[in-house]
């Protein structure tokens, strides 16, 4: 392969009238008018801001819940909340802060900022952005409604079984968490997919990965971690919900399950989650520090290596949350060592930041103050984290207020302070206005004082033995003063956050207009006109900024169309797609416009969730069928009945549009989706292995059903799928499509027959439940492949299929191969179980 460092010299287009270009682009890219326009919006600026604003509302709600907790704990026998309500409130506080504030906040920042910083016009899949937003909103509303009606989850934000199982939590409280959070996680997966694809495929020509702004590196690390980190949680939630709804035992010891499986699946997600939250924050810090210090970042390469290390290592730590469950010494030592090792890349970044400040001349603008708050707080959180990673200390401090203190130092230090820095840094770009002097600084100091007053003391409260998650402590007068202090300072903290919010609002409404690029930023976002136009750039940059070049310098040239792909002369939303490694221009993508389809889709998924919550299980297939129909429509709008001419992007360069490219954005997106899906499948196999080896009540009492006939049918099903994989490789046309459809339907029939013939009642034992889940997984994927084949067949009937437009079949091939391979693995596992007994 060629070294991807070579630059590209594309000569610019001739200048045009900037206002004319603006009008032309705006007609094509702007949202529709009025309320309807908000519903159909797919634009990343609109949706990114909306994500962040909604996340702030949830932060405020989570904060109010925290105040209720602190009010209750201020005195030893508080009567403000009873135990049931206290449990609901701390569970909802933790869940809201993690799933409805932190994750959506970082998604919003990524969605809003990445296209601007990479100099492109939108995210790779705008409709997916919108779908993610609606899923987030509806899922969040379901959880809030439950809180209002007093049926909110109450088993802690990590929902340990058996507490959250059907016996101990009979109501719908736990279902609200499992279904609500999974619903919201659709938005996390959607964001992860499009962030990955956008960063890998939409950079300016010549911006190799090694010249990419650090923020993009950090977001790439984050999105990859989300692709791999969320599936275990989603699997765990689905299994637990199936156990609760249909009585299939996965976590119930008596029937071969094991509650530790839940803990593994949860923390397999839960620890990486901490880094998923931290990396974007660190990305903001790495962007802001050099600008505030009038210099360049020190150790770009070392930071990239540190990100690489963190992305991997953070998946090797999860067991440190389970140190007290009786895991053998050696395993404890592995995870303890990994926990210590992960401090190294974190330290590398901190030293790079300090080095940058050392080299430059730090100016204590407000963003820098918040970064100082970050340093102070996060480093302390890191120290207590190292303490907790030491196994004997962990046994002492486990489940005390010490852990609560630690996690808030890390989360507020490592996420909230950097986000406040980011807010004050990018506010001039969001609103085009500057700050009102003094208010933001006051807010910062009040927050800093309030935070450390509340949580520093909480370390001591923990060391003198106060457990977390208790609502009264009448027999422990020695905890009174510590708790009262925490509670008083927590109100100071709240006042600080309120001041911060007031500052933001006043700034947006009344602040003085700022010049363009007030900070002399070093990334392309500051090369935009203001207020930020819907299409971001009137023409796209011909190359990355050179180090040290202020972005404001290129702003006028881009606005006058002296870059690539100026204006919207064809009346379509277009941007440039480049190759992953080299940044070589590849093709021009045409994006779909405004549509209400995402809203309809998430409403349909929401309908499914509500039917599950209501226990109307027999009606759920209707909602699922609705989702299928909408997916079909979604795909239909990507097809085209005729060829399209190439598009001129620069005087000497014309490129094909995406219909004529194989390596489309959609293809990259499907690869990402399959990575996530593969992780889910691997987690399922891990679950099977774990229960088989570790769970106490194995082997299952009933012998397996099935013999030679079943084995032959299984092999036949896999064989049919292999034929499908063969069919997609034939010349594009109607015959392969029909063949593909036929063999997939045959395989589906075989899987259904096998399920009826060979499976025991899944409620018998975890083994039978897992076999049923594996069969269901295979069946679902065969159905999806059949759907893809049917889709291609319909295209052939309508004359839309052409060897010149290979994208659809290439995507079908990916899905078909995935199905064949996973089905073969399922078949092997099932047959092997039969042999091994």
């Amino acid at each position: 392969m060629t070294a991807p460092d070579k630059g590209f010299t594309l000569s610019p287009n001739p200048p045009q009238h900037a206002l004319h270009l603006h009008r032309e682009l705006n007609r094509v890219w702007a949202n529709d008018r009025g309320w309807w326009g908000q519903i159909t919006a797919v634009n990343h600026t609109t949706l990114g801001l909306r994500f962040m604003a909604t996340a702030l509302v949830f932060f405020a709600i989570g904060g109010v819940l925290a105040m209720m907790l602190r009010a209750q704990l201020a005195t030893p026998a508080g009567v403000f909340l009873d135990t049931e309500l206290y449990n609901q409130i701390f569970t909802m506080h933790g869940s809201i802060m993690m799933f409805l504030f932190a994750i959506p906040m970082l998604e919003g920042l990524g969605i809003w900022l990445l296209p601007k910083i990479l100099g492109t016009r939108d995210m790779a899949f705008p409709r997916l952005t919108a779908l993610g937003y609606w899923c987030y909103l509806f899922g969040g509303l379901i959880m809030l409604t439950a809180l209002l009606f007093g049926v909110a989850p109450r088993d802690g934000w990590f929902m340990y079984t058996p507490l959250s199982g059907a016996t101990h939590s009979p109501g719908i409280n736990a279902d609200i968490w499992l279904l609500g959070v999974t619903f919201v996680e659709i938005s996390a997966l959607a964001a992860a997919i499009e962030i990955t694809v956008t960063i890998l495929r939409q950079r300016p020509p010549g911006m190799t990965l090694t010249r990419m702004p650090l923020f993009a590196w950090y977001m790439l690390g984050t999105s990859v971690m989300m692709l791999v980190g969320f599936p275990p949680l989603i699997l765990g939630s689905v299994l637990l919900e199936v156990e609760r709804a249909f009585n299939w035992p996965f976590f119930e010891v008596a029937r071969g399950g094991d509650p530790l499986l839940w803990q593994h699946l949860f923390w397999l997600f839960g620890h990486p989650e901490v880094y998923i939250i931290f990396l974007p924050a660190a990305g903001a810090i790495s962007t802001i520090i050099p600008v505030m210090c009038r210099t360049q970042i020190v150790g770009y390469g070392a930071i990239v290596a540190a990100i690489l290390a963190l992305v991997f290592l953070s998946f090797g730590l999860w067991v440190h949350h389970m140190f007290t469950v009786g895991i053998p010494h050696m395993a404890l030592a592995f995870f303890s060592a990994a926990s210590a090792l992960v401090a190294v890349p974190t330290a590398v970044q901190i030293f790079a930041w300090i080095g940058t400040m050392w080299r430059g001349q730090p100016q204590m603008h407000l963003p820098m103050l918040h970064i100082m708050g970050f340093f102070l707080t996060f480093v302390m959180g890191g120290l207590t984290g190292v303490m907790l990673a030491i196994v004997p200390f962990n046994w002492q401090a486990h489940d005390t207020a010490f852990v609560t203190a630690h996690l808030h130092y890390v989360l507020i230090g490592g996420f909230v302070f950097p986000m406040m820095a980011a807010a004050s840094y990018w506010m001039p770009l969001i609103s085009g206005r500057g700050r009102i002097k003094g208010l933001g600084e006051a807010a910062f100091w009040v927050i800093l004082l309030g935070f450390h007053g509340t949580f520093f003391v909480m370390h001591l409260t923990g060391l003198v033995g106060m457990p977390r998650r208790i609502d009264t402590y009448p027999d422990n007068p020695e905890w009174i003063w510590l708790n009262l202090t925490s509670s008083i300072f927590s109100f100071v903290l709240t006042i600080g956050f309120a001041l911060f919010a007031i500052d933001m609002v006043l700034q947006a409404l009344l602040g003085p207009r700022t010049p363009r690029d007030p900070w002399k930023g070093q990334t392309l976002d500051w090369a935009m006109m203001r207020p930020t136009p819907s299409y971001t750039f009137a023409s796209l940059s011909t190359r990355p900024l050179t180090p040290g070049q202020p972005a404001g310098e290129v702003a006028l040239r881009l606005a006058r169309g002296e870059g690539l792909l100026p204006g919207a002369p064809r009346g379509r939303r277009e941007f440039l797609v480049t190759e992953i490694g080299t940044g070589r221009p590849d093709h021009v993508a045409i994006l779909p416009g405004n549509t209400a389809l995402p809203l309809a889709m998430s409403a349909m998924i929401g309908g499914f969730v509500l039917l599950m919550l209501a226990g109307l299980y027999i009606l759920t297939p209707l909602a699922l069928a609705g989702v299928g129909v909408l997916i079909w429509r979604w795909g239909r709008s990507l097809t085209t009945p005729h060829d399209h001419p190439p598009v001129s992007i620069a005087p000497e360069l014309s490129l094909p549009v995406h219909h004529h490219s194989r390596a489309t954005l959609v293809q990259s997106g499907i690869v990402c989706l399959l990575v996530a899906n593969g992780t889910l499948f691997a987690s399922l196999l891990f679950g099977l292995g774990f229960l088989t080896v570790v769970a106490p009540n194995w082997p299952a009492p009933l012998p397996l059903r099935g013999g030679m006939t079943e084995a032959i049918l299984t092999v036949a099903a896999v064989g049919a799928l292999a034929l499908g994989s063969l069919a997609v490789r034939l010349r594009i046309g109607v015959v392969p499509a029909i063949t593909g459809l036929a063999v997939n339907l045959l395989a589906l029939a075989l899987v259904a027959t096998l399920a009826a013939m060979a499976l025991h009642d899944p409620t018998n034992h975890a083994r039978d439940a897992l076999r049923a889940v594996l069969t269901g997984y295979a069946g679902l994927h065969v159905l999806m492949s059949a759907g893809f084949a049917g889709f291609v067949w319909q295209m052939a009937l309508r004359g839309e299929l052409s060897p010149n437009r290979p994208g659809v079949v290439a995507n079908w091939r990916l899905v078909q191969d995935y199905t064949t391979v996973t089905a073969a693995i399922v078949a092997l596992v099932v047959i092997w179980q039969g042999i091994a007994g």
């Binding site: 090694t210 060592a337 990994a338």
Partner: protein
Amino acid sequence: MSWLMKSLLGPGVWGVCFSAVYGLHGLGCARGWSDLTIAPSSVHHFAMLGTWLAGIGACALLVIVLPRGGGMQNQLPRAGAWIGLGAVVFTLFPILVASSC
């Protein structure tokens, strides 16, 4: 192989090796492999040790074969190999010191 993939190799080896040793450890403890002794230790221990050494070997090989010099293009894959080597050695050294089950 693409540049990005090359950079993922080193940490990837760690991922595979760490999972394999953790899996072997769990499996061995549950199935009583630690009682099957071959002097001076158990089958269980040797299985883990072998996997560990294989992981170290793979990372060391990467460090040797990946090209040096030449700016970030070559440095990141090499850094990845070193990260893999350091992580394999450090996170799995308890094989030498801790008792198995």
